[in-house]
Symmetry: C2
Subunit: 313 residues, 2 copies
Amino acid sequence: LSPGSPPNKKKSAITVIVGDRKLLERGAQVAKVKLDKLNVMTRAKRSVFQPGAVNLIQVKAPAPREVKAGEPDAKTGRAAMAFLEKATELALLNEVDAIVTAPISKAAINNAGFYFTGHTEYFARRTNTAKYAMCFYADKIRVALVTDHIPLRKVHSKAKLARVIRTAALLDEFIRDLEGKRPFLAITGVNPHAGEDGLLGVEEVTEIAPAAEACRKQGIKVEGPVSAEMAFINHLAGKYDGVVAMFHDQGLLPLKVLAPFKTVNVTLGLPFIRTSVGHGAANDIAGKGIAKVESLHNAVALAVKLAKKKWRE
Amino acid sequence: LSPGSPPNKKKSAITVIVGDRKLLERGAQVAKVKLDKLNVMTRAKRSVFQPGAVNLIQVKAPAPREVKAGEPDAKTGRAAMAFLEKATELALLNEVDAIVTAPISKAAINNAGFYFTGHTEYFARRTNTAKYAMCFYADKIRVALVTDHIPLRKVHSKAKLARVIRTAALLDEFIRDLEGKRPFLAITGVNPHAGEDGLLGVEEVTEIAPAAEACRKQGIKVEGPVSAEMAFINHLAGKYDGVVAMFHDQGLLPLKVLAPFKTVNVTLGLPFIRTSVGHGAANDIAGKGIAKVESLHNAVALAVKLAKKKWRE
């Protein structure tokens, strides 16, 4: 996936790109990356591990002259959906251990006629996974979201007891898998200052405190409801090993300001490993060869780490 | 206000504490601060400016033996309210230019029989100010909140066009006063990714985009709706001079994780200057002499700066 990187001495993982050869070649040219050893296949099992080799599973896409960098449309949305569908098939058929996704234009996919609110929801539906959670990982921060891509006005009716417990359980399992320790998690409130004892909202009393109690009974070490600011300040200070946050901006803003280009997005609960860059498509700089690759590198590294853990067990 | 600091060579501002002598003396002992030149008065105009001098306006309070550090109750809530009321009177009567508030126990004040959701709302009601905004200031960050201490479920029905415009206008004026320049402001969305073109919510289309347009017509330089993460990332990068955020956690989390103990809270729109520490009462460390004073120092410094600007005009 990163042919520009120095070749690894030690065999780490075989990576396969799912996409289109001509578009990949154009991208490589822009990014000044050589594609000498392009191995085009129809099945992932034909992949090779060799310094400088790039494995590609070819999926039909529009011709490069029809694709303008930074201007996604129904055509490119349809192609992105085909790449995604192919990668999901490979994972469901166990031809690959993990999927790492690059940013995508949701608008283009919707223009192509698919209802698409995000990769996470797509993978959950496509794999019949009802109990999943969007999780973010960067430096020392681990956050799982109880609700994700929904309008703010719906948050209070979705951040319910069962979903809070489920999200805490998924984050607990993720950190145990990854770091081999029983984590101590903070569960945030929905309202400012975690509701300030009922003065600024009731969900902390009716949903979140009972959920925290239920987690403790299940053996998950949690504290909550904690105000979002104290949850993150104390997570950064090492008191908590992770934060269960109630909604998108509450969980993501601390990460985005502290590690804007490093964050990795992980979907917990799927039948396969899935990581992703933590940023959007940045159409304004597409095709200029100046995109930062750190988040994608970190997403690949985390997928490799999780896959190795899985096989070691 | 900070007798432990080195004496200022240059006369900067006269500070007056509104509180109780015996409790202040007990606090000074814990903090190892000398109170040699305590000037106890009933009117602020009798204040002195002298290195090491501490001016105090005495207000009735419970005896120290009745007050346990870190255990606020109805008695101390009543006293806190009396201090606050006295300070507000001094400001309304123009005996002082600014009020700087320390953290307070909202629960204790409510136990004392007052309905109290926060200093900000108290000052707004007490001064008949309908159009105010809670604003935060730390290092390079300036944020004003369209909604503040309300339950999350009410945010979408309160973050309306008129309130967005008013908050942007107050932040614009504040930055112009303070920094002498016309700022460029980001206005965030209510929903994740600023609603993603209507896919994740409608308030960006129905309220926020028209508010941004109205701001520009009034000569306020704004961009919006911008997703909260991009608003803060680009504010930190210098593109925006301030952020108009829609709700408490959205506006505060970036500040809290970047500058947890430096943040100053300012109420915009009041008839007098009011700044405050940006943190809570931290009852768990009360009376131990280990509280960080940076936020209070910054709050005093900002109040002095704003008062000087006002008198220079």
